[in-house]
């Protein structure tokens, strides 16, 4: 049986890609297998673990619960797209490195995308809000203490960056 293929144009991290995939190709698999963007990880494939979380038009969504064919009208950002153009780490990535927010790193891409959007919407979260921000993501080895610390550190780094670019004026 030959399966019907669809021509799909995906916009990922600002670049446009043409792929030919069956309708059942999950967005997570399209990113990893067709576009070779293997930063997006796949754990449970049913929406529970959060490892596959990407930003769709800036909002965190599960890549394993979307089909590539349905992603055509959207701008997708993966963990690869969080790094600055010069290769330096974003505040959230920097904070994970500083706070020991990862061990094996399997869950990390989903945390980074989720927190990036979370801090954009709420740049100065309380401790409770920082915990809530990551409540939909599972980590099996680091534990959550350091990840929460990383959220709070990333908020600090973000506000330092904002003050320095605005010349200290607040």
């Amino acid at each position: 049986m030959s399966e019907e293929l669809h021509d799909v144009r995906l916009t990922v991290n600002g670049a446009s890609h043409e792929i030919r995939v069956p309708a059942r190709r999950l967005l997570s698999d399209a990113l990893r297998h067709d576009l070779r963007l293997t930063g997006t990880h796949v754990g449970c494939e049913h929406g529970v673990c959060g490892a596959c979380t990407v930003l769709v038009d800036g909002e965190p969504m599960r890549a394993c619960l979307m089909f590539a064919v349905s992603a055509v009208d959207h701008e997708i950002t993966t963990v690869e797209g969080l790094t600055h153009a010069d290769g330096s780490l974003s505040p959230v990535q920097q904070a994970f490195a500083e706070c020991h927010g990862l061990q094996c790193g399997f869950c990390t891409p989903g945390f980074l995308t989720t927190i990036t959007a979370g801090l954009r919407d709420n740049p100065q979260p309380t401790h409770e809000e920082a915990r809530d921000m990551i409540a939909g993501n599972l980590c099996r080895c680091t534990g959550y203490q350091n990840i929460v610390k990383a959220v709070e550190r990333a908020a600090e780094l973000g506000s330092e960056a904002r003050t320095s670019t605005t010349g200290g004026a607040s």
Partner: protein, 278 residues
């Protein structure tokens, strides 16, 4: 963990979607996919075709109407939860939505999709049932309104015909002086609840809706019951079931505890907001 092959259609209008559905008896509507895609990936469902409604314009509207608020089929849980109109007209909707999954799931999942999916462990079918809301559906023979009381026919089964599309849901407004509350117990925040309860108190009338107790959303009338007897009176009308998540006895205990709590907090809500209005 990959879906079986299916044909894919992405219609640009409701009329086109209805026509496609009429031509393929084994087709399913794809809205947010947050319930359907896991079922496909686990191969618990293998429809011949998916009709993706995400490209149909105008379906994401949230509008205040006479007597309530109407939520379009593509309004995401997150948009409904954030809507000041919804919060003002019917505060029970955001109270319950805050317990639906995690923010990331709410960014994609739709409130109408959750109503049609008809999971007895889901929050919104209970809210619609308790408030006496309805769903508007479009099909080959035109549009019809299904009242919540006729929507839920069995576990994961709504009375929608296979060739019909739900276009919107209507949640009636909270009457002046009335109060609402929602509480649930889940193992972790964002998980499906072991038991949840929503209360609506309006003068002498007291009604409570339950999720995860029976295999359909269930509303019981507790008007005139003494406060101390609320839990037992509710249980007299319910048959909590055993499953892998909780025993029937534990569910019964949760019903006892939650019933009194939600009724009390719905009354408190009414009192606070009556004072606020003065």
């Amino acid at each position: 963990m990959k879906p079986a092959p299916f044909d894919y259609r992405r219609p640009g209008s409701i009329a086109e979607a209805v026509q496609i559905l009429a031509g393929e008896p084994n087709a399913k509507v794809l809205a947010g996919g947050q319930s359907l895609v896991p079922l496909l990936s686990m191969r618990l469902a293998a429809p011949a075709m998916l009709v993706d409604i995400n490209a149909i314009p105008g379906l994401d509207a949230i509008e205040v109407e006479d007597g309530g608020v109407r939520i379009g089929a593509l309004a995401r849980h997150a948009a409904v939860l954030a809507s000041p109109d919804v919060r003002r007209v019917q505060p029970l909707v955001p109270m319950a939505l805050a317990h639906v999954a995690h923010a990331t799931i709410r960014n994609r999942g739709t409130t109408v999709g959750s109503l049609i999916h008809a999971d007895a462990a889901a929050e919104m079918p209970v809210v619609l049932s308790l408030l006496g809301g309805s769903v508007d559906v479009d099909g080959p023979s035109g549009r019809r309104t299904i009242p919540a009381s006729e929507l839920y026919v069995g576990p994961l089964e709504s009375s929608l015909h296979h060739d019909e599309i739900a276009v919107s849901a209507f949640f009636p407004a909270l009457a002046p002086g009335a109060g609402v509350a929602f509480q649930e117990l889940a193992r972790r925040h964002g998980d499906y609840a072991l038991v949840g309860a929503a209360a609506l108190v309006e003068g002498e009338s007291v009604e409570v809706g339950y999720l995860s107790v029976s295999d359909v959303p269930t509303v019981v009338d507790l008007s005139g019951v003494d406060d101390a007897d609320l839990g037992e009176a509710a249980l007299a009308q319910l048959e909590p079931a055993d499953d892998i998540h909780a025993t029937a006895a534990y569910r019964a205990q949760l019903v006892r505890v939650l019933t009194g709590k939600v009724v009390r907090s719905a009354r408190e809500w009414a009192d606070q907001h009556a004072e606020g209005a003065r």
